[in-house]
């Protein structure tokens, strides 16, 4: 039982990283990035290239997400900022266009073949949990996910930039009136969100099969997570991801046929009771 829980939690960490970026970007830019799953996918592919060239997992883990940051920067600076004035659906459609472009570009460059790179030697061992064997890598993922959460919390609550981000998320007009340069802030928040998704992708590289479709799957799960937790709330994203991770882990054991549907059922239940999500702000 404990073993299942730990597996579920470590799976939840990828989801948390993607949902965190999605929620952060939405909180500040008010744009829902459909392409966030594609950034996660690009993180995995970029890390894979970096691994092939350098031979080091740690270099890959550093470079992969940074390359995704560059893509994120290009997306925001080159395209997204041109449609801030357009009706909301068009901003969504723009990010959706990137889903199609990134997915097919990856297929074009790498082929539709599933890639499975090796686990780094230092993390390839296993730990005994009760009578089950848990790969060390799962514990590593849990630690990274926790550390990123802690880091984000410290950054947003304890630093000046974090204060500006929170202020802009709470009231954009007022923040701008008080001298926040929103265009620059938007770019950097988008880049940070892209980094989080890229990190998730890079981390998933050794244990999950890399394929062009991996982004589609996780973005829909991430939507479920942010609807559960409340869009724009990082705490909600974290707990939502943990909840979905555990639901999947225990669902596989107790009701394998309905495992896929469990997350949606949870989402529907939350929507009935608290339409704005567990930690979201009630819509005016």
């Amino acid at each position: 039982m404990l073993f299942q829980g730990l597996v579920g939690l470590s799976e939840a960490m990828y989801l948390w990283l993607v949902a965190a970026g999605l929620s952060l970007i939405f909180g500040v830019l008010r744009v829902l990035n459909f392409a966030h799953g594609s950034l996660y996918m690009l993180g995995a592919y970029f890390a894979w290239i970096a691994f092939r060239i350098s031979g080091s997992f740690w270099v890959a883990l550093l470079l992969g997400p940074l390359l995704v940051c560059a893509v994120g920067w290009a997306m925001e600076f080159g395209f997204l900022r041109r449609v801030y004035g357009a009706p909301e659906p068009f901003q969504l459609l723009l990010t959706f266009a990137f889903v199609l472009i990134f997915d097919d570009l990856v297929k074009l460059v790498f082929g539709p073949v599933y890639q499975s790179p090796p686990t780094p030697a230092a993390l390839s061992g296993a730990v005994m949990i009760g009578r089950s064997v848990l790969p060390t890598y799962h514990l590593f993922i849990l630690a990274v996910g926790g550390l990123v959460g802690l880091g984000l919390w410290l950054f947003l609550e304890k630093t000046g930039v974090g204060l500006i981000i929170r202020a802009t998320a709470a009231d954009r007009e007022m923040a701008c009136a008080l001298g926040v340069r929103s265009s620059r802030l938007f770019t950097w928040v988008f880049v940070l969100g892209a980094w989080l998704a890229g990190l998730g992708g890079a981390l998933s590289m050794p244990v999950r099969a890399i394929s062009p479709g991996m982004g589609e799957f996780i973005i829909i799960e991430a939507f479920v997570v942010v609807v559960l937790g409340g869009l724009g709330s990082l705490r909600g994203a974290f707990l939502g991801a943990v909840l979905i991770g555990l639901l999947h882990a225990y669902g596989l054991v107790f009701m394998p046929v309905f495992e896929l549907a469990l997350g949606y059922v949870a989402m529907a239940a939350v929507l009935i009771v608290r339409p704005w999500g567990l930690f979201g702000v009630r819509e005016a």
Binding site: F26, L32, F79, R82, V83, A86, P87, E88, P89, F90, L92, L93, L94, F96, A97, F98, V99, L100, I101, D103, D104, L105, K107, L108, E216, I220, F223, V224, V226, V227, L231, V257, L260, A261, Y264, M267, A268, L271, I272, P275, E283
Partner: protein, 303 residues
């Protein structure tokens, strides 16, 4: 009445296709008509109401699977198609109850998530849906076995639906939907029951998306889970954007252009989604009115 004339010419042209076109062209035109219906149902929510749905594939598949199962159970063709569409509308009523309570961004996310839930159900519920194999050997009866006859039936149903949707767009419901698009709060204050109105539009859109799917099943004589996948939901989105969301005929034009272009592109490359991604990008950045919007703007400038 230039509009009535356009409608009449379109109707005659569509119904004359079997006389002049071979089986391939007939098949292509029918596919264009089905996508046009799906795109029109999508645009009832998008262009008219301002709500971007990424889940029309769920109702399309709902109609297709329900009609297929009824046909395989021995029900005649036309009742199966009608009941398939009604099933899709019922599905839309359940999903819509969750979706219409929310603002635009939540609406898009929820329609996508619920759409993928339907996909997951279709994929997993092998006993009923055939899982990833889908359903095969769907009969369409002796009389409609001839492709020309089925073409005429399907085309007539699509044209009738287009007429209904056109009437709807200028009805009080259509006006209420536009009022919601422009300013939901103001609409509410001037007496429009916003949620109920969106709900009616959602179920109507589900019905016509379902009809499009229910017409597909006997045409292909197979149904596969890909009908429920989000890439299917993306097709009406792209067709509408290409044609133009703010005019009634935009999705019609878009469906023809989209499938025509796709037919040409797939001959050169399998990466047609990349091409459409770039087209969509260009549309969103510079031609938000679509082809029809651009054409109207050009015509007005000349006049």
């Amino acid at each position: 009445m230039p509009r009535a004339a356009t409608g009449a010419i379109l109707t005659v042209a569509v119904l004359l296709v079997p006389l002049v076109a071979g089986p391939f062209l007939q098949y292509l035109v029918l596919n264009m008509l089905l996508l046009a219906l799906l795109a029109l149902s999508f645009n009832l929510l998008f262009g008219m109401t301002g709500l971007l749905s990424f889940g029309q594939g769920a109702f399309y598949a709902g109609g297709a699977y329900a009609a297929a199962l009824l046909l395989r159970a021995g029900l005649p063709l036309i009742p199966s198609i009608v009941l398939g569409s009604v099933f899709a509308a019922a599905l839309a009523a359940i999903i819509g109850a969750f979706c219409v309570r929310h603002t635009r961004i939540y609406f898009s996310m929820l329609t996508l998530a619920f759409g993928m839930l339907v996909y997951a159900v279709v994929w997993k519920w092998t006993d009923v849906t055939g899982g990833d194999d889908g359903l095969i050997g769907i009969p369409r009866g002796e009389f409609f076995a001839k492709p020309e006859r089925y073409y005429l039936l399907a085309a007539a149903l699509v044209l009738a639906s287009v007429a209904v949707l056109y009437r709807l767009s200028s009805s009080p419901l259509g006006l209420a939907l536009r009022a919601i698009r422009e300013n939901a709060e103001r609409a509410e204050f001037s007496g429009v029951a916003v949620r109920q109105t969106i709900f009616i539009a959602f179920v109507t859109a589900g019905f016509f998306a379902g009809l499009s799917g229910a017409l597909l099943a006997p045409l292909e004589q197979t149904v596969s889970p890909s009908t429920a996948h989000w890439t299917k939901s993306a097709e009406p989105v792209m067709a509408t954007l290409i044609g133009g969301p703010l005019t009634f005929a935009g999705p019609l034009v878009g469906a023809v252009v989209y499938l025509g272009l796709k037919e040409i592109i797939v001959r050169y490359t399998e990466y047609w989604l990349l091409v459409f991604g770039l087209v969509l990008l260009a549309m969103v950045l510079s031609f938000r009115g679509g082809l029809l919007g651009a054409a109207i703007a050009l015509w007005r400038r000349r006049a």
